[in-house]
Subunit: 141 residues, 2 copies
Amino acid sequence: MLLKIENVGQYLRDAGIKPSIQRLKIFEILAKSYEHPTVENIYTQLSPEIPTLSKTTVYNTLKLFQKHGLVMVINIEDNETRYDADTSFHGHFKCNVCGKVSDFNIPNTQPLIESLKGSLITESHYYLKGICAECRLRTDN
Amino acid sequence: MLLKIENVGQYLRDAGIKPSIQRLKIFEILAKSYEHPTVENIYTQLSPEIPTLSKTTVYNTLKLFQKHGLVMVINIEDNETRYDADTSFHGHFKCNVCGKVSDFNIPNTQPLIESLKGSLITESHYYLKGICAECRLRTDN
DNA sequence: TATAAATTTGCAATCGTTACAAATCTGAAA
DNA sequence: TTTCAGATTTGTAACGATTGCAAATTTATA
């Protein structure tokens, strides 16, 4: 989802991260769009603006965000790691035709799983794959 | 979960796959255990029994199983692809301490997601991460 | 037994990610 | 302002999982 953060610099500072230009821009891409970009996506988008940007910086920064709980990792495809600045519990839907990943709300709260009694749950992930409405219309599926 | 398949050879044949020794053994590892092995796991387990086994064969075979709907991919960690011969909808829980991945049943049916109306859903994945009961007791978490 | 097709194998290539050390930047003290 | 230490960024090399591909082997068929 689109996160409404007025001051990204403050948001990072509050999380204990010094807001360098690279960090600010990377976080903005994550927060101010509906995409769930890969490292490659972020790097490509930012390169014109920050020509000296290194892909290593993107990796390092995302690791840093993760460590501070500002970002969650989306593993839908095994060869495609995506990132999301919305860390609240929500689902992801990936269209196998156009490749887009969209968010969806999960109505009810998580069910209590009997067999996991005694376990500590720190992360929940729910995702679906299929063909999105637009692609179905377009391709007659 | 533990799949109860009396005749693995027949099961593969029914799916349109000729049951070679390699395919049989690889499928047995997937079906007859609670683990959710990686390619590495499978290769290591089978190597003593089939000394000529190639890791490429494991990859090819898993791709083939996938194509015929006999196997689902589990992407919990971005650097660790696991496989499961139980393709029915169920959840996975990964313990961050011992690393084990266990199954759990999901009680109620999937909620209808309003925003996905018109989409065709072909795969559902639900997974949790945390610390399992055993590791909590052992490590005092 | 001969031959074609299917399967397996081994190796090289690819790609995403990480390690690491040098370069650059930032902020505080002098 | 200048200097210096620490933080951050960068580029390159290394690594590991996965794939491409062609040769070798096995299996099925005539």
